[in-house]
């Protein structure tokens, strides 16, 4: 675990995310049903499930890209309530990587990375650029710093997106299907970065169907269907001895091809 991670505060028992009885509706549609999930510091969690099962919606609730109607959510000791300051505090602790990268196309790679540090953390430009270059080197594309996102390949863009999140020095990283929009040959370069990050002790929640990644780094794998958590277990048990027939069916469908 890096010293940066150790230095920050968290609740007494080391839980960085506590979700209790979370319920969410889109109009009349019940998308999340009684979600209960506790994530410990440094834990790596992979969430999988069929499309429409609510897995993206769940992790998007954690940094308030989605609102929920019932239940409670505590991130790094801060309870998510209807308050702008509160939401901004939580968002500073939580980094997010999206399926479609969502880099800012009008800014260079370096400007994409320094935007948060300069405007949110109020760091001087030089320091922000130093941090940005550090993380660009970590994702192995420091030479692309002055290009625009449109000039990079999908895999490179996603690595920039990861670096952009890391520049904010988040305590938790959320990944929302980070490799689903990539060509097969680019998936590995992104997964490599994520594996490295996991090995350094970052608390991570990844929505992904990369089962190889799950087996390799996950402490826990969660299976969701119909808006609820159906099963959660260590990767060994999860893949080799699924408890429910629903997970068995799901695994047979994604692993057989």
């Amino acid at each position: 675990m890096t010293t940066e991670n150790l230095a920050t505060s968290s609740s007494a028992d080391g839980d960085v995310i506590e979700i209790k009885d979370l319920n969410k509706w889109y109009g009349n549609f019940h998308v999340l049903k009684n979600i209960n999930l506790t994530v410990k510091k440094g834990e790596r969690i992979v969430v999988c499930g069929p499309s429409g099962s609510g897995k993206s919606t769940m992790i998007r609730c954690i940094n308030r890209l989605e609102q929920f109607q019932r239940g409670s959510l505590v991130v790094n000791g801060v309870e998510m309530i209807e308050d702008v300051k509160n939401i901004e505090t939580i968002r500073r602790e939580v980094g997010m990587v999206f399926q479609h990268f969502n880099l800012f196309p009008h800014l260079t790679i370096l400007e994409n990375l320094t935007l948060g540090p300069i405007w949110v953390q109020k760091k001087p430009k030089e320091e922000a650029e130093e941090i940005a270059m550090k993380y660009l080197s970590r994702v192995k594309i420091p030479d692309q710093a002055n290009k625009f996102p449109g000039q990079l390949s999908g895999g490179q863009q996603q690595r920039v997106a990861i670096a952009r999140s890391l520049c904010m020095n988040p305590q938790i990283m959320l990944f929302d299907e980070p490799t689903s929009a990539l060509d097969p040959e680019m998936i590995k370069e992104v997964l490599d970065v994520m594996v490295e990050l996991a090995e350094e002790g970052m608390t991570m929640i990844c929505v992904t169907h990369e089962m190889g990644f799950a087996k390799k780094v996950a402490d826990r794998v969660i299976f969701m269907d119909g808006g609820e958590i159906v099963e959660q277990n260590t990767p060994d048990v999860f893949f080799d001895h699924p408890e429910t027939d629903r997970l068995q069916l799901f695994l047979s469908q994604i692993l057989d091809h």
Partner: protein, 367 residues
């Protein structure tokens, strides 16, 4: 082993290359097009020589009075040159015309500033200068603030007034309409309704009606005894009218921005205004640029409507000149052609600038 010898390149067949090829492909590719080509050429042959002759060859170029226009077969450009001072500057005192020139030059300067200034100064210096321009320029033309001779707005006029009014209006309308467009997308029902009402009112009422309201009706709402300058009222009307249109242009721009951009900005912890100004606004400007220009050209040309409420912009000056007893020779074609020409030059110029800005803003495929 067999040796490979490239074949010699042969000249292209006559029907697909060179002048003959071009003519055949573009002018006479089939019967229908050939007929169209012949008809159009016949029409041009009948019209163009006479036009060129009237406009240039037989035209009267030199002199100062109507009597100098001796050749009836040609245009009397003397009319335009004799009235040039009025057409450009209205009744602005001749000795003070340098102030108008200075105003126009500084307008060009604030427009060029985003290109010329280094990136660091652009937002800190360029933007405030841009937004303050209308007020500085008005003070310069008025004169009192700078200790110059006072020139009442009654004397402002001519084409320079069209330019100043249009520029001053769009500069203020730009941020205002952006706020209206933001308000229209707001979650807060009160702000949203106010913005919808404002936008739809100023878009839905003809600009002529707005001008009449501004010049006749608006004073009724002011307290007794206050006299708000007519030009100021017209300026306010132009700003509001322009804002109504621009707000809808911006709204279209907002809709072109993928929701992922908002989410990415949110997840970095940017505040609402940081997100709006740093992430969304630059992208909205980029997609809206062609429509912003189109709206501005429309507003610019609409400033000629001001003739009906007695503002001496270029078109009403032309009409005054045409009815002058010394020039009752039927110079309407020359007068209106000149007005059309100066507007066309300006609008075409803006079109070029906008194309240039679009290219500058396009970072998506730059290599």
């Amino acid at each position: 082993m067999r040796e490979f010898k490239p074949q010699d390149a042969l000249p292209a067949p006559i029907e697909s290359a060179g002048l003959v090829g071009w003519v055949r492909q573009n002018l006479f590719p089939n019967v229908g097009s050939s007929i169209a080509t012949i008809v159009i050429f016949a029409f041009l042959a009948a019209v163009v020589p006479d036009m060129v002759s009237w406009l240039f060859i037989e035209a009267n170029w030199t002199g100062t009075t109507q009597e100098d226009c001796t050749n009836d077969e040609g245009a009397c450009w003397v009319f335009v040159s004799a009235w040039m001072q009025q057409l450009m500057y209205g009744s602005y005192p001749v000795d003070e015309v340098w102030r108008v020139h200075l105003g126009l030059i500084s307008l060009a300067a604030v427009i060029a500033a985003p290109y010329a200034l280094p990136k660091a100064l652009r937002n800190k210096v360029g933007v405030p200068l841009f937004l303050l321009y209308p007020f500085i320029c008005a003070a310069l033309l008025d004169g009192r603030t700078f200790g110059l001779e006072f020139v009442s707005t009654d004397y402002w006029g001519g084409f320079s007034l069209n330019i100043f009014l249009a520029a001053a209006s769009i500069i203020i309308a730009f941020p205002l309409s952006f706020l209206w467009a933001l308000g229209r997308r707001s979650d807060m029902p009160f702000i949203r309704s106010v913005c919808v009402i404002l936008i739809e009112f100023f878009r839905g009422v003809p600009v002529l009606a707005l001008f009449f309201m501004g010049s006749v009706m608006l004073p009724l709402f002011f307290p007794e005894g206050t006299n708000v300058d007519k030009l100021l009222r017209v300026w306010i009307v132009l700003i509001l009218f322009m804002s109504g249109y621009m707000a809808e242009v911006f709204r279209g721009g907002f809709q072109a921005i993928p929701s992922g951009q908002y989410e990415a900005a949110d997840s970095l912890g940017l505040s609402y205004w940081q997100k709006t100004l740093l992430v969304i606004f630059p992208q909205v400007i980029k997609v809206s640029m062609p429509n912003i220009l189109a709206t501005f050209v429309m507003l610019f040309k609409n400033t000629t409507f001001l003739l009906i409420i007695g503002i001496f912009e270029i078109l009403s000056t032309t009409q005054t000149a045409l009815s002058n007893s010394n020039w009752l020779g039927g110079h309407a074609p020359e007068g209106y052609l000149f007005v059309a020409f100066v507007f066309w030059v300006c609008c075409f110029g803006m079109s070029m600038i906008s194309t240039n800005i679009e290219r500058k803003l396009d970072t998506s495929h730059r290599n």
